[in-house]
Symmetry: C2
Subunit: 184 residues, 2 copies
DNA sequence: TGTACATCAGTGAACGCGCGTTCACTGATGTAC
DNA sequence: TGTACATCAGTGAACGCGCGTTCACTGATGTAC
């Protein structure tokens, strides 16, 4: 097994363990090793401690998230269309990877501060804000507001899986946009 | 020590342990016993198992939440005023008891389904919906939408305590209301 | 009123578990001469 | 090309920890006669 091989295998296993609904916290070091069919001590060849592994996991999740957002964007499209696509991609990513979403947006600060490099996410917010301006959104609609709104949608759906909602998720997003004066 | 005494002391200790930011999960049975200055086995006189204690804790948190909402309401006020008060009370409760908020709205389903009796919360939603109608809110603004929006505000603030927001929490609530056509 | 007894809320020791971490080790790979 | 050696990614045994849970127990309180 090549050195690089196990390193990324461990990270991938950690992501896979954290991904589904079940994950209430970061996966244990031993669980990650087990998932790779490797002894617990082998992990220490690649990460100096559990918190080092956690840090790597959270950074990895962050880049997975950023990549998903970037992949959903097409700068050639009109701003309003791009905004809609961002929103749906954000909500889609969250609901498809509830465990990762939870770790990225609802746990990182508990697991230890400054785990997540926030520059990329902040850039994203700046970009979205520019799109909002380009769409002629009112001064009282910021990327932060949009983020809060979308987060609320994702978070509640993810945490109340049994609940029956009176309106579909996609439709609810569109309704938010309409209220913000950003209807289709 | 009277029997009833320890029972509620344990519950109160569990709430206190869960309340602050630190709480990443439900407090352990031993930690609760320790906080009451009592042996771990004493807990079994009052709760049949850890999950029984958890269930009681979550139900207790739910009633604390419902009580806080009820206390903030004054049926004598005009509907719009009542809506505003509900919103601020909801967000205030969440940010003042982040650990409880997290357990009530972002963990319950992970800890074991049907822990929380949802009737009271559903009633609350129904009441809020009635208030929205009474305020002449558009058909595309439901209590669910309001809940999602407010939850997004609370959740992100609670989970990103270090983040600097471009607008204060109270102002952001009012901005949401304005967008919904429910300005002051 | 005093004695015998049942009740029951508490105790402390012990269990097996998964955890993070350490330690001395093994054995394959790569390099120096 | 062959031999000696260093490197280093892996192993398994062991540690101490906090956890939930069990067990036999103690000692105060309340009741029956």
């Amino acid at each position: 097994m090549r050195a690089e091989g196990l390193h990324s295998k461990l990270l991938a296993a950690a992501v896979e363990l954290a991904s589904p609904r079940l994950a209430t916290a970061v996966p244990s070091l031993r669980a990650v090793a087990r998932a790779c069919g490797v002894s617990a001590t082998a992990v220490y060849r690649h990460f100096s401690s559990q918190s080092d592994l956690n840090r790597a996991l959270l950074m990895h999740i962050d880049s997975v998230f950023i990549d998903a957002m970037a992949a959903s964007d097409d700068p050639g499209l009109p701003p309003l269309k791009r905004l809609h696509q961002f929103a749906h991609a954000y909500v889609g990513w969250g609901t498809q990877h509830p465990g990762l979403y939870q770790l990225r947006f609802e746990s990182a600060d508990q697991l230890g501060a400054d785990y997540v490099r926030t520059e990329a996410a902040d850039e994203l917010l700046t970009d979205v804000d520019a799109l909002l301006r380009a769409c002629g959104a009112g001064p009282d609609v910021t990327a932060e507001d949009l983020w809060c709104g979308l987060h609320g949608l994702v978070s509640l759906r993810v945490h109340k899986p049994g609940r029956v909602w009176s309106v579909g998720l996609e439709a609810q997003i569109d309704r938010f946009f309409t209220l913000w004066g950003l209807g289709r």
